[in-house]
């Protein structure tokens, strides 16, 4: 059992995502520290991958920028280790199966445990393929986060039953990125999860404004925002952490209004 449930103990959770090494690992580190101060309850750290098939253009470009800077999985582990000297909120990785597989799932999860990573999100690992990774995750107390989508329907029960940490509710069809309108009935998805597992549910994909965050937080236990934060990294570069902190504070307040 990991730390993750603590993220849901301060009212509705706000969960920001950031791509590690965009534009530098030091900027990412500063951004994480400032996001924690601004009220982030859990942070998703993206390990860059060359071909992030679940991402829209904003996060794709962040991955490319990070890889251009030659950021490696080992660099990210080293950064987390340093962060853990001050940061105590739950941290999860978000990356793609091949990053973990090529590193060696066992070696990867062992490192996660050592540096203090609480969970991992692998968008290209659906329920049917999870065993290969989940067995190792469990061995090292890393929660493999399950995702449910608007198309999941009757699959939700099966997925929720075996979910750990929190359930990532994908708000819309398509890839990550800012959307003006979210039409999925998130409340109904969350209800199906809770019927079989008392586990926190956080909504992600397409959320960028405080209004959306408040609306989504009313229907779930937390809100995940990626592209809107990555956009700040793209626009402000090394000066991004302060801008991100302002944004996170606003979004956490919106979550608390829900």
């Amino acid at each position: 059992m990991s730390n993750i449930k603590k993220a849901f103990e301060n009212g509705k959770a706000f969960i920001p995502f950031i791509t590690c090494g965009d534009p530098t690992l030091d900027t990412t580190k500063q951004a994480v520290i400032q996001m924690v101060q601004a009220g982030a309850d859990l942070i998703e750290l993206g390990i860059p991958f060359s071909d992030p098939t679940a991402e829209g253009p904003v996060i794709q470009e962040a991955n490319i920028r990070a890889l251009k800077n030659k950021i490696t999985t080992d660099d990210v582990f080293a950064m987390v280790k340093e962060l853990r000297q001050t940061v105590t909120i739950p941290l999860v990785f978000m990356t793609y199966a091949n990053v973990v597989f090529s590193y060696g799932a066992e070696r990867f999860m062992k490192n996660c445990q050592e540096v203090g990573i609480d969970g991992i999100i692998l968008p290209d690992i659906p329920f049917e393929e999870k065993e290969e990774f989940d067995a190792v995750c469990k061995q090292y107390d890393v929660d493999l986060i399950s995702m449910i989508a608007p198309t999941s329907e009757e699959r939700i029960t099966m997925i929720a039953k075996e979910a750990n940490g929190f359930v990532y509710c994908v708000s819309s069809l398509g890839v990550t990125g800012v959307r003006s309108n979210i039409t999925t009935d998130i409340g109904a998805m969350v209800k199906k999860v809770k019927e079989v597992n008392d586990i926190p549910c956080a909504v992600g994909f397409g959320i960028s404004t405080p209004e959306q965050a408040e609306k989504m937080a009313k229907q779930a236990d937390g809100v995940i925002v990626g592209s809107a934060i990555v956009k700040l990294c793209a626009a402000h570069g090394k000066a991004a952490p302060a801008e991100i902190a302002k944004y996170v504070k606003e979004m956490k307040e919106a979550c608390l209004r829900a």
Binding site: D51, T73, V100, P126, P150, T151
Partner: protein, 394 residues
């Protein structure tokens, strides 16, 4: 282990959003693959529309010139749209129609699969959108025009290396956004299950015909079957009905680009390692941290960092051999076959011809070799001319 495995390879490594679409496709395929009415319609379209069966041509001049085995060319280049791709497209489109889909999307490398998809979509009255790497759009401008002429919308893909792998990623992204009315006509024996199985079955008509034709002409099976391999659809099609015939050597010819000892290569089996990408576990060209390599080949259709899971398995168990052929060798073979047999092969297929030229020297006159000419080379003429330092204006 999950569904759709070939040894340790294959599987369904895709976002949850697509899982129900995958299950729906699997169900539809299981329902129709042995359905007499479906198969009758498929056969009629393959014969009447695509022009099957394709010829097995005895390449007498090449045979004499090389002084080795009797060489036969399986003429997939004579199919409607000029390549083997249409075999799979017709099958998947008939399936998509039965699934109630009204719109199809597809990736394309050289443009052959895109053209085939746009063609059958035009004929069946379906909406069609094709994703093609921006670099490939430039390399294969004629095929881009063809697709537009056929009524398809072509999206140049600028992400990543702007080639086939990025076109595949972008088509998957598009499918995640619009599933209800849309089928993804995947063009090779790759991606998540059930695609590698479905595409193989629709391409297996190639080896089914080769077997019948060679038995008619020679009264026995060939000693070797050669085909080029990118994702591997024409190769698996040419191999499939011979897998159980252990006396038939199966040889896949990968694109070595500028050489397997350089970074400018797309030879997956020869330079890649086990990984998970584009929905499947298989071999991929990648760096030590699992970042997919920016591969290179003169051939847009073989310029892909992975290989279909069934090929990975045939390699593991030693049933098929995978060799690497450089740009230079392929271009020479492209010119050779044009001159000696009056057949201009696709630059992809020229990779198989190139290896056949080397291999023929090691075989005896009483042996038989079949080369799958997966497509015709008209689309490549401008690029090969450029390669030889000549600028063509079409």
């Amino acid at each position: 282990m999950s569904k759709g495995r070939f040894g340790i390879h294959g599987g369904q490594y895709i976002p949850e959003t697509l899982m129900n679409a995958m299950l729906e496709l699997e169900e539809a395929y299981k329902k129709y693959k042995d359905d007499p009415e479906f198969n009758k319609e498929l056969e009629t379209m393959l014969n009447e529309y695509a022009g099957r069966p394709s010829r097995l041509y005895y390449a007498e001049h090449m045979t004499k010139d090389l002084g080795g085995p009797k060489i036969y060319l399986k003429r997939e280049d004579l199919n409607h749209t000029g390549a083997h791709k249409i075999n799979n497209v017709i099958g998947q489109m008939l399936l998509a129609k039965r699934m109630g889909k009204t719109r199809v999307i597809a990736e394309t490398g050289a443009g052959q699969h895109g053209v085939a998809t746009a063609t059958v979509a035009a004929m069946m009255g379906m909406e069609c959108e094709i994703f093609m790497g921006k670099e490939d759009c430039e390399r294969q401008a004629l095929n881009v025009y063809r697709m537009r002429l056929l009524g398809a919308k072509v999206h140049p893909v600028e992400s990543g290396t702007a080639t086939l792998k990025d076109a595949v990623s972008e088509t998957f992204r598009e499918w995640t956004a619009r599933i209800e009315d849309t089928h993804y006509v995947l063009g090779s024996v790759m991606g998540p299950y059930p695609f590698p199985t479905i595409v193989r079955d629709f391409q297996a008509v190639i080896s089914k015909e080769i077997k019948q034709q060679v038995l008619e002409k020679e009264g026995r099976l060939p000693d070797a079957v050669l085909a080029c391999v990118g994702g591997g659809s024409n190769a698996i099609g040419a191999f499939y009905n011979f897998i159980e015939d252990k006396g038939v050597r199966l040889i896949g010819c990968e694109a070595a680009g500028r050489g397997i000892d350089t970074f400018e290569t797309a030879a997956t089996i020869n330079t890649g390692k086990l990984g998970i990408f584009h929905g499947m576990k298989s071999y991929f060209c990648q760096d030590e941290y699992g970042q997919i390599a920016p591969v290179y080949s003169i051939s847009a259709g073989l310029d892909y960092p992975g290989i279909g899971p069934e090929h990975a398995y045939l390699h593991d168990i030693g049933r098929a051999e995978y060799v690497a052929v450089t740009d230079d060798e392929a271009v020479e073979a492209f010119e050779y076959l044009s001159r000696i047999e009056g057949i201009i092969p696709a630059i992809e297929s020229a990779h198989a011809v190139a290896h056949a030229m080397k291999m023929a020297k090691t075989m005896s006159k009483d042996e038989i070799m079949v080369i799958n000419i997966s497509g015709r080379g008209d689309k490549d003429c401008a690029a090969i001319a450029r390669y030889r330092g000549e600028d063509l204006y079409e």
